[in-house]
Amino acid sequence: MDLSPFETDNSVSCRLASQIPDVCKMEDCCLGIDEAGRGPVLGPMVYGICFCPVSKKGDLKNLKVADSKTLTEAEREKLFQNLDEARNYVGWALQILSPNTISTSMLQRTKYNLNALSHDTAIGLVQYALDSGVQLKEVYVDTVGPAEKYEEKLSKLFPGVDVTVRPKADSLFPIVSAASICAKVARDRVVKGWNFAEDLGEVDADYGSGYPNDPKTKAWLLKYLDPVFGYPQFVRFSWSTAQTLMDSKAVTVHWDDDEEDGEKSAQRQKNRSMLSYFGASAGGNDQNPTHQTHRFLTERRLTSLNTL
């Protein structure tokens, strides 16, 4: 697995993929989707797909791929190697969603939540397989959100493909287990060798599991909190763990889409009631009540000063 495309710029989303086995372009195939790193406040979320001909499902079972959560890191690495050796009939593709992508998606003006991001990533990967000529007949997915709705959504998008969405799909279907191993291995490797874009000097790599409830992760977050910038891009700013710490320890930053109490904020922003525009004296807001600043200046937010 060559992670260099992601490591050159870990601030964006990146796709990694194996060669498409020729047999997958000829025979009906099944495909599994799983993700790794949904919960942690640190590092990327990785989406993986794995596909093989339906006829080779048995062979996949013999590789003893199992739910990645039940395996140690070493076992996962071994299993990934097995998958790699089976490259003449097993293909995979990964989408690494950088923590920065997650932060900016979830915190943008039009909120893009993690579930929507997950769905779209999964859909993108399935589309990638189709575009690459994989003869998809069956798709197995571990659910994100209500299974029925997700299944309906995917079925509609990919007519002619039999979509099965199940909770715990990674332990039910070997092809999903395989996908989960690919995703988990990629995430582990990326997190371990994270290239910090920021100039932090020697970074303390002892950040634990990256899950919000891990004391090591919490300690690390406290240590690397910058009062102005918050965190390196390695941290998901949209996680409440990160937000709470920034709210209490960092400088307060106001954005113009911060919600405040209607009337109060209107007053503070010197906004005027819509009604005032219909009144007799529509004009500026100067210290001198009789003086109305010309709209050339108010439109350009220009004011006179009396002190520096």
């Binding site: 939540n113 579930n115 994100v144 439109e299 937010r301």
Partner: protein
């Protein structure tokens, strides 16, 4: 999580982000740096900030661009206020004018350095050092020379002609810069279908008059409006756009749109329900595909979980 952000008041800065021509900071005399000064603003009669260039030869006005939610990154520091100061040349005559008007009420010719005096703003006498000041006094005052001394007396007529020229020059500038001067639309980013040529000369004149009025007293502004032969806009009716003409037809007259729904009590400006800040933040979250908390506690949900 959604703790309410408190605004801390803006603290005094010792640095500012300024846009100014290089010439502003040119030191023309060795030991006189350009300096910020507080002078009486002719339009508001209150103190405003100005700048006198090196050697007091040029006057500049200081305007600040300021909008909420702006800050600067300057080198390796953060400047909390996102203000942008503009230092632009200004005709000192505008600031001298109020003093001449006051003195002119006596009807006497006086030496100008005895007129431009202000206990509150003693700096104002330095305005007379500006290159343009003495040379252009004849625009607003009658001059008399007795021996080597010059005496001045305010002239309303001259001033009106001078201000009219200012307005006309402003109109030229407005046209050149494609400033939209029409009534109604107040957004500068709004893309207009109407081309600028659709504006009447009057619109330009009125707009320019408004701009010049930023530099003169209200009385002068009104007098100038008369001088320009522009009707004064007083009643709100005149500022309203013309009402749409109703087409004549045989059909019975019916209301075009139903506005009665806006009369209901919950269409007031207040938010319909008081929500806490936390609730509001939550309400903003895109919840598609998320299970409600309660689903995890119902017996079926429990069975599903483990």
């Amino acid at each position: 999580m959604a703790s309410k952000k408190k605004r801390t008041p803006n603290v005094q800065n010792d640095s500012w982000v300024v846009v100014a021509a290089d010439s502003v900071i040119d030191t023309q005399k060795p030991d006189s740096d350009p300096a910020f000064v507080r002078l009486r603003n002719p339009s508001t009669d209150a103190a405003s900030l100005y700048m006198l260039g090196s050697g007091d030869v040029q006057l500049y006005e200081v305007k600040a661009f300021g909008e909420d939610f702006h800050s600067w990154f300057v080198g390796q520091t953060v400047q909390r206020d996102g203000r942008l100061l503009f230092i632009t040349p200004m005709d000192p005559l505008y600031l001298i004018l109020p003093y001449l008007i006051t003195a002119g009420k006596e009807g006497k010719f006086q030496p100008v350095d005895q007129v431009v005096m202000d206990e509150e703003f003693p700096v104002c006498s330095r305005l007379l050092s500006c290159t343009r000041s003495l040379a252009s006094l004849h625009h607003i005052a009658e001059e008399k020379e007795v021996g080597s001394q010059k005496f001045h007396r305010y002239s309303q007529e001259k001033t009106m002609n001078w201000l009219k020229k200012k307005v006309e020059r402003t109109v030229v500038a407005l046209k050149k810069r494609n400033i939209s001067v029409g009534e109604g639309v107040k957004s500068t980013t709004y893309v207009r279908m109407k081309s600028e040529s659709d504006y009447h000369e009057d619109d330009y004149l009125r707009y320019a008059h408004g701009l010049i009025s930023e530099y003169i007293s209200e009385d002068l502004s009104k007098a100038l409006l008369k001088h320009l032969q522009l009707p004064e806009l007083t009643s709100p009716k005149e500022t309203e756009p013309p009402s749409k003409k109703r087409k004549l037809s045989d059909k019975p007259v019916e209301a075009g749109e139903d506005y009665t729904k806006f009369n209901s009590a919950d269409f007031l400006r207040k938010p319909p329900k008081k929500m806490t800040a936390a609730q509001k933040t939550l309400a903003k979250v895109d919840k598609t595909g998320m299970k409600p908390m309660s689903s995890f506690f119902s017996p079926k949900g429990k069975a599903e979980k483990k």
